[in-house]
């Protein structure tokens, strides 16, 4: 039952992009086509879940054991950077098409605040290993939900006649605000 609450909270109530403001750069950068959005979500999910597992282990068996908690930021970001490097190598072998579609955005997952943010949040919320896995997977799902929904909307926005100044990023932000407003309706569910 606890897990259902974690999932609903992470996907809807505290959506990582629309409520917690993490993962905005890819949100704006990759969301103009539904296809790339889905591909990005897959890559982020993979990195986010594994990163959370590894950082959980490091936090409990290294940082806390030796009292070097202040090295958390450095260790966590190094783990994430290495993971992304590995994903790049694996993708090059397994699916060159997806690798090329994601392009520059793949290494950018390293600087995706959502991945580091979720890793830190899992530690702050004092989750055990299984809860951390569920939490990170749910957040990745929430990220994907926001990203794919938004890219669908943006594909439609491109067909509109807008004042020149609003085209592109500005209108995207205003629409994101409306989407965030819609998600606020989920507050109070858990």
């Amino acid at each position: 039952m606890e897990y259902i609450i974690i999932i609903i909270s992470a996907v809807f109530v505290n959506n990582i992009v629309l409520a917690k403001f993490l993962g905005i750069c890819p949100f704006i950068g990759v969301s103009n086509k539904v296809e790339t959005a889905i591909g990005m979500t897959g890559a982020v999910t993979f990195v986010m879940v594994i990163a959370t597992i590894v950082t959980y282990l490091i936090q409990h068996y290294v940082l806390e054991k030796f009292g070097i908690g202040f090295l958390q930021t450095i260790m966590f970001i190094l783990v994430i950077a290495s993971l992304v490097q590995m994903v790049e190598i694996v993708l090059k072998r397994v699916s060159i098409a997806l690798y090329q579609a994601l392009g520059i955005f793949l290494p950018l997952i390293t600087t995706n605040c959502a991945v580091l943010g979720v890793a830190i949040l899992a530690v702050q919320n004092d989750y055990n290993l299984l809860e951390s896995v569920v939490f990170s997977a749910a957040n990745a799902l929430g990220f994907g939900l926001a990203l794919v929904t938004f890219s669908g909307i943006r594909e439609q926005l491109d067909l509109l006649d807008l004042p020149k100044a609003m085209e592109g990023v500005p209108i995207a932000f205003v629409v994101a605000g409306l989407l965030a407003m819609a998600f606020m309706g989920f507050a109070g569910i858990v």
Partner: protein, 192 residues
């Protein structure tokens, strides 16, 4: 730009040295800031206690004790003036807030009368539930000086004496839940 080749040895060496220097520098800063950080944390807690208790001259943090309640712990910080108990600050919680957990610091006089209440943490909606904070409205002032034996701690909608925050009955109910938890724990086993 670079005069150093990317041989395996050089790469490992560079990363090792950089990380070593970085960790040492950080270790130094950590040692430097360890005490101020502890002091800041204690000051914050002490401020919350002073807000809700009458004047005291002991160190409530040193004399604190805790009790288990409803799956979590309540912390009791007694304040004494020259050895005589003047009040106990109880750090209490509720999980029934509209947006999650709410933490309160309830100041109780020795006989259980409420002296004052401060909000420690909450995630309630700005403009609605967040009015439980003293800075936003007088909602929490109505508890001052009230004895829960005479002043029923539940919202009027539930037959109690507490005027709920307009359009925020859930937050108000949760607030009462936390206060009752503190009072009951104190009366049943907290008095020391």
């Amino acid at each position: 730009m670079n005069k150093v080749e990317s041989t395996f040895r050089n790469m490992v060496l560079t990363l090792f040295i950089v990380t070593l220097v970085a960790s040492s520098a950080l270790g130094f800063v950590y040692a430097l800031t360890k005490e101020p950080i502890e002091a800041a944390r204690l000051a914050k807690r002490t401020r919350a206690i002073t807000d809700v208790l009458p004047e005291y001259n002991n160190n409530p943090l040193e004399d604190s004790y805790k009790l288990a309640a409803d799956g979590d712990t309540l912390y009791f910080y007694p304040g004494t003036m020259n050895g005589e108990l003047v009040g106990t600050a109880v750090e209490t919680f509720t999980t029934q807030g509209f947006s999650g957990e709410i933490k309160l610091m309830v100041g109780l006089l020795p006989d259980g009368t409420i002296n004052d209440i401060s909000v420690l943490e909450h995630k309630e909606t700005p403009g609605l539930g967040d009015k439980m904070d003293k800075k936003k409205s007088d909602f929490s002032l109505q508890f001052q000086g009230k004895d829960p034996m005479d002043f029923t701690i539940s919202v009027t909608q539930d037959g109690g004496n507490v005027q709920a925050i307009t359009a925020s009955t859930v937050s108000s109910r949760a607030f009462c839940d936390a206060v009752i938890r503190a009072y009951n724990a104190y009366m049943e086993g907290g008095k020391q």
